[in-house]
Symmetry: C2
Subunit: 328 residues, 2 copies
């Protein structure tokens, strides 16, 4: 649970730093959030890990993506060779990068026909996600790669939060027109099948994950849960990563209080999704790439929060006058 | 003028990088903007200067700020000692920092009574701003410090763009209640006096600057003009820096095309101001500190844009399949 004493210490220090109270805005909120979840008065953002999980999806055969399914494995090779966007962001901001391909040769099942994963499959993927936390880190970014996975994410949001399927479906990598309409129908069919299979009442979040998710989404959910136990705050990437956070969010109240969303995706339904999990993204730069790119970019904001919080002078040490009204 | 060939080269390269077209959002826009104004096909963001101009304001004696006027000089000392927020941000992101105090012992005149600056004063301050560009740099951040200067900025916006004075006035460092109402009245009185003094017709932008600005605002305007001549793109900081950009914007169409606004300030009128100059800020993190802090934080986004643009593999080099629809 959050360390309230650490959070109080951050607030007390903020009030003495040479700036008008509150004038660093969300940087102050982030410093307090980091301290509370790291359990120390001086937050850190030095050892940052970007964990990218990759999975393949049976539903990709239904033409829901602008790219062929082999691109998942090709992009994993590109991550290893250092050629992807996330490699450049990790290098620019000094972040460690771990890429975890999850059984790419064996896609999940087509979830319009049957459950995407068996219970064992889903649990194994979650455990893979948890293992990404094995090293000591200050902050975790979670991201993904998986052709077809915005369809899985949309189906999960639809099952977890209701509404029309069309409200959760968007272009992903770039589908439009009739293909986009087909994607909506795939999500409708999948959610209908999952509801029938899960029986009456609300679908349990882990059931929804198994029915409609994918291995990379299960792995991200596992990483979020493991991070909570290890006192590691998490920056969640875009649309698909938010689906993993949504699963954990529905498990218990406050279950993702140790998570922030790094970036609001250009995928239209992301705004609705982040509202549904009670988050306000740090950045909004029209990106829609995945790979943890939005979370990695948000690390710059976290580093700025830590740098200002730990490095600034106080009014006393710098001999700067306080507000005219204060102290009188 | 922007280098259209460089911009075209950026767009051509973007189309071949291993990502769905457009999926890096504003990072792609920034790479193109940097290349066009730097006049080279591969944009750079290595040598970045944060220039902070400090000025004192006669109008501060009217109680428009929550802080006493001596804080301007105290904060300049804090910048020199490395204790301010901007020092930590500059260190965190590897930015050079130049602090230029402008005749702090001699505040501008109270612009409710007479012109803030003489023509000579204003021209000298603009020249000081231009000199900040003396070294070779890839990107300039402009920021400021000056107790009372959100009042000057509000008066400038009111003179340049019209509307009600109250729509341009906000709490600044934290004034509220009757003091905030007094600040509105100060801006109204100043604008009325300036209009009478400037005669019929639209107030020329440099006239408005001299009448209602301050030395640090004039310096920022001078820096923006000099940056244009030297092919240096500019990241403009918050509310007060935007007032300098607004003066240049009113001089000629496209005069601030080489500028982006780094951060949307929590000062409520900043949103109206950035719309008036046709900009969309890169960040929105509820900050309202000045000191170039919002622009400095936005440098992280520019560095990310350059890193992805220059470092990513192409579809060909990484052997990643393109969109199914393409090339067929």
């Amino acid at each position: 649970e959050p360390d309230e004493a650490a959070a109080r210490a951050v607030r007390a220090r903020q009030a003495n730093l040479t700036k008008p109270p509150g004038s660093l805005g969300r940087l102050e909120e982030i410093a307090e959030w980091l301290a509370a979840w790291q359990g120390r008065e001086m937050p850190a953002a030095d050892r940052v890990l970007v964990a990218i999980f990759a999975g393949n999806h049976g539903v990709a055969a239904r033409g829901v993506s602008a790219y062929p399914a082999e691109v998942t494995a090709q992009m994993v090779a590109n991550f290893s060779a250092g050629g992807a966007a996330i490699n450049q962001l990790a290098r620019a901001f000094g972040l460690a990068l771990k890429v975890v391909p999850l059984d790419l040769a064996r896609p999940t099942q087509d979830f319009t026909l049957t459950s995407a994963m068996s219970e064992e499959d889903c649990a194994q993927a979650m455990e893979c996600g948890a293992q990404a936390l094995d090293d000591e880190i200050d902050l975790l970014c979670i991201g993904e790669m998986g052709i077809g996975n915005t369809t899985a994410a949309a189906a999960l949001f639809h099952a977890l939060f209701g509404g029309e399927a069309a409200a959760w479906v968007g272009p992903g990598t770039g589908v439009q027109g009739p293909a986009l309409q087909a994607k909506v129908e795939v999500v409708e069919a999948a959610a209908r099948r999952a509801r029938q299979s899960s029986g009456p009442g609300e679908m349990p979040p882990l059931g929804a994950l198994r029915q409609l998710g994918g291995r990379e989404i299960a792995a991200m959910a596992g990483a979020i849960l493991a991070a909570r136990h290890r006192r590691v705050p998490v920056l969640v990437d875009g649309f698909v990563a938010t689906a993993a956070a949504a699963v954990v969010h529905r498990m218990a109240p406050g279950a993702i209080d140790h998570c922030l969303v790094g970036h609001l995706s250009a995928e239209p339904a992301h705004e609705r999704a982040v509202r549904a999990i009670g988050k306000r993204p740090l950045l909004s730069l029209d990106m829609r790439l995945g790979e943890g790119s939005g979370a990695a970019l948000a690390v710059a904001v976290a580093k700025a929060a830590v740098a200002t919080h730990s490095g600034m002078a106080t009014f006393e040490s710098a001999a700067v006058s306080r507000e005219s009204g204060a102290g009188s």
